[in-house]
Amino acid sequence: MIRRAPVLLLAALLAGAAAAEERFIILQSTTSTRNSGLFDFILPKFRASTGIEARVVAVGTGQAIRNAARGDGDVLLVHDREAEERFVAAGHGGARHDVMYNDFAIVGPAADPARIAGARDAAAALAAIARARAVFASRGDDSGTHKAELRLWRAAGIDPAAHSGTWYRETGSGMGATLNTGVGMGAYVLTDRATWIAFGNKRGHRIAVEGDPRLFNQYGVVAVSKARHPRAKAALARRFVDWILSDEGQAAIASYRVDGQQLFFPNAARRGRVR
């Protein structure tokens, strides 16, 4: 009996994995939506409404899209519109829908070495950071936030990669880890507002730049295509997409607050209304 115990244990592990397979979907999503607490708030409502459990794998947008493109997921909820449309165009997913938005902000140390606090032009602020050679911590991980940051550098006419390792530091990690690093070395960081508000280790860091229309941050949802990925749970995924775009799902997103602040703003197209 004792000799057989490890084998039984392994069998139990495998059986457990198989039995639990039915009523759940894998949601490939981003660290911002998970770390901000949004999923902990809305997914129980989705489950109460449909009986389906949504299991979240929270990684950078780039990795989430690559995982879904390998068929390792049923739904994609990320924030890089171009990449999402390429994902759909390549046949990995059905239609892409707008779900909600929030915005990015540049946070920095109270001392503000680049003198950008209160600026509204994000690209000009980045140019000022580069001029001052003030330390800037980048995600450097091909995430949606990283892509948005690179678009801003391009708008500022600066190639930050040329300064990699000096004042421009690529952490290659998630939003929270990059914020921890940035706070630790007194660096400026481009962050999504939701992660920033829910972040618990701000120390002296504060928002320096916000309100630039280029800091708009749109989230989209795509169900993984069953035609392309036969293992995808298309019917359950469809119900998730329908729910999050429904009045109920949109209201759930709108009602999520941290410290009284709304973190995400639903903006799904209403049925029958063309946007």
Binding site: A5, P6, V7, L9, L10, L13, L14, G16, A17, A18, A20, E21, F24, I26, T31, N35, D40, R55, V56, V57, A58, N67, R70, G71, D72, S173, G174, M175, G176, A177, L179, N180, A198, F199, G200, N201, K202, H229, R231, A232
Partner: protein
């Protein structure tokens, strides 16, 4: 008192206060973490339970593979034996992230074992940790068995003991040392975060372990809570090791009584 000394003293006191405040936060978080465990918080207990289930499962499977393999390399003379020892020792240093990545590619829907549907399940995590732990068990077993075999070689020769009998006798007589080997493997498994993060996905209520929960709380900036969870993890490792050592001590007493 000169103004300069006064300033310095003032700063020291302020600095001390800051540290005390930080410590305060930590003790509060630790109190909360322990309170959650003692109070039977379903979420934290689930996380602790999954960590133990995955890591103990991995150690069990790794022992099934590593003990006979290590013992065979340690006890038998065959061509390429030195190379096998080097490989086993080198594999002890397998980077968890690389193992996680390889297991992910194997189990991914687009991979060769995708049909099993094991990705993002505790079974996938157990597989990854087994790959990390098996070389440790095998390499350390080889050393233990080789040393013991040298001691027993004459007896084995004079009694004309067959190879299988020799292996089992060596493993049995080295059982107390091998318990420590298994514990070393458990330590590696339960503390590892890179592999379980990739193949498990750190999914709440499904594949979140102590280490991935600590990584998550750190990334949320909840440093005190992360540290408190770390202390809980260390306490669990101490408890498991303590239980194994107690078992070993009482078994030894029985054997020699």
């Amino acid at each position: 008192m000169s103004p300069v000394v006064h300033m310095m003293l003032f700063q020291c006191i302020n600095f001390g206060k800051e540290i005390l405040q930080e410590m305060d936060g930590f003790w509060q978080a630790l109190g909360r973490a322990v309170g959650l465990i003692v109070g039977g918080d379903a979420e934290l207990i689930g996380i602790v339970g999954l960590s133990l289930r995955v890591s103990l499962g991995a150690v069990a499977v790794a022992c099934l593979i590593g003990l006979p393999l290590g013992a065979a390399v340690g006890a038998f003379r065959f061509p390429g034996r030195a190379a096998a020892s080097v490989v086993l020792n080198a594999l002890m240093g397998l980077p968890p992230v690389v193992v996680g990545l390889v297991v992910y590619l194997m189990l991914s829907a687009a991979g060769p074992f995708g049909v099993l549907g094991l990705l993002y399940t505790p079974a996938a995590m157990t597989i990854a940790q087994t790959i990390l732990v098996a070389p440790i068990v095998a390499a350390l077993t080889r050393q233990v068995v080789e040393d013991l075999d040298r001691e027993y070689a004459e007896q084995f020769a004079s009694l004309g003991v067959g190879p299988l009998r020799r292996l089992t006798a060596l493993l049995w007589d080295a059982r107390y040392a091998l318990l420590t080997v298994a514990l070393a493997g458990f330590g590696r498994a339960v503390a590892e975060v890179g592999a379980v993060m990739i193949v498990g996905g750190n999914i709440a209520h499904a594949t979140r372990t102590m280490t991935t929960a600590i990584a998550l709380e750190t990334s949320k900036g909840n440093l005190e809570l992360a540290l408190a969870l770390g202390v809980v993890l260390v306490a669990i490792a101490v408890a498991v090791t303590g239980a194994a050592m107690t078992l070993r001590a009482s078994a030894a007493r029985l054997a020699y009584a």
